[in-house]
Symmetry: C2
Subunit: 183 residues, 2 copies
């Protein structure tokens, strides 16, 4: 039986911060970059100092056609040859995100089956061997091996194995699949 | 820490067969009852001999305002005092069902949090202590204790503890919570 990897969506394979930035520039003519967020360790709406940007998460269309995180398609496709892949996203807070997220997955990850999509609120009842996520709180309650995807809001955490990009993830699982990594 | 119960939606707390029956009567002027299905051990669209009825599952509105299975609201509310309740439904085959199902849960089970809703394709990566489901295939791959909710399409199964209605479920968990049942 193949080992299972659960993969988060936002800021791991999809890039909502790019949409925030686009809408902020539309609203105010000022560009907030990913580098601004990393420099300050803040989420977009905290950096912007405007809760309106968090509210955008509840709007239809916010999650539609988000940019894909570099290399995620190629590496997830490669991983799917050795592991069972589940996309596990905490979509339930955002009722209007579900169809956008579903369509996005079918468009950008067409090699994955809908059988392996999970939209949930919490992740402590997900039973897979690995979880790749940018939120420490999700990894802390996850019973398997947590892998922290580098993000502005998790820079201080040292408890989990950190990956900076999908090339790092490929390197990690190239070792894991041959049994070199002991968990 | 409270034990966790995962509860399926369709034909466990919501009643799609009632919608099938309503639309069949609208289309052909003939009423197919739940008793007809139980007598023959068939799913609605197999009994009707018309694959069109399975296709209705993909339409917007099919899952909207479905009747609630008797006593499920009261018993789930009671259970939520002693267990953590998750609603786990294989919605992912039906992209257009998600918003209807979400709205239905918020309307008829307002005491449950969206944090505890799970829309998935498979249930073998759900980590709870119990799963109440009408599909044997979901219980067979579930690592916890499976409880089979009586349905026309599962009458022959004897491998799982069968409950006929929500009164049965209350009786089961009245014993379980005091430790009388050994799994």
């Amino acid at each position: 039986m193949l080992k299972k990897i659960a993969i988060d969506m936002d800021e791991v394979i999809a890039h909502p911060n790019a949409r925030f930035s686009e809408w902020y520039e539309r609203d105010y003519g000022i560009k907030i970059t990913q580098e601004d967020l990393f420099r300050t360790g803040k989420k977009f709406y905290h950096y912007a100092g405007d809760e309106k940007y968090r509210k955008y998460l509840f709007e239809k269309g916010f999650f539609k056609d988000l940019p894909v995180i570099p290399d995620s398609q190629e590496v997830v496709k490669w991983l799917s040859g050795y592991y069972e892949i589940f996309i596990v996203t905490a979509a339930m807070e955002f009722r209007n995100s579900m169809e956008d997220k579903y369509d996005w997955l079918q468009k950008y990850f067409p090699f994955l089956s809908w059988k392996n999509f999970v939209f949930c609120g919490r992740k402590d009842m997900i039973l897979t061997d690995f979880l790749i996520d940018d939120h420490v709180k999700n990894l802390e309650t996850f019973p398997g091996t947590g892998i922290l995807y580098n993000a502005p809001h998790n820079l201080e955490n040292t408890a989990f194995h950190r990956v900076n990009n999908w090339k790092d993830i490929k390197l990690y699982f190239e070792k894991e699949k041959t049994g070199i990594i002991n968990h």
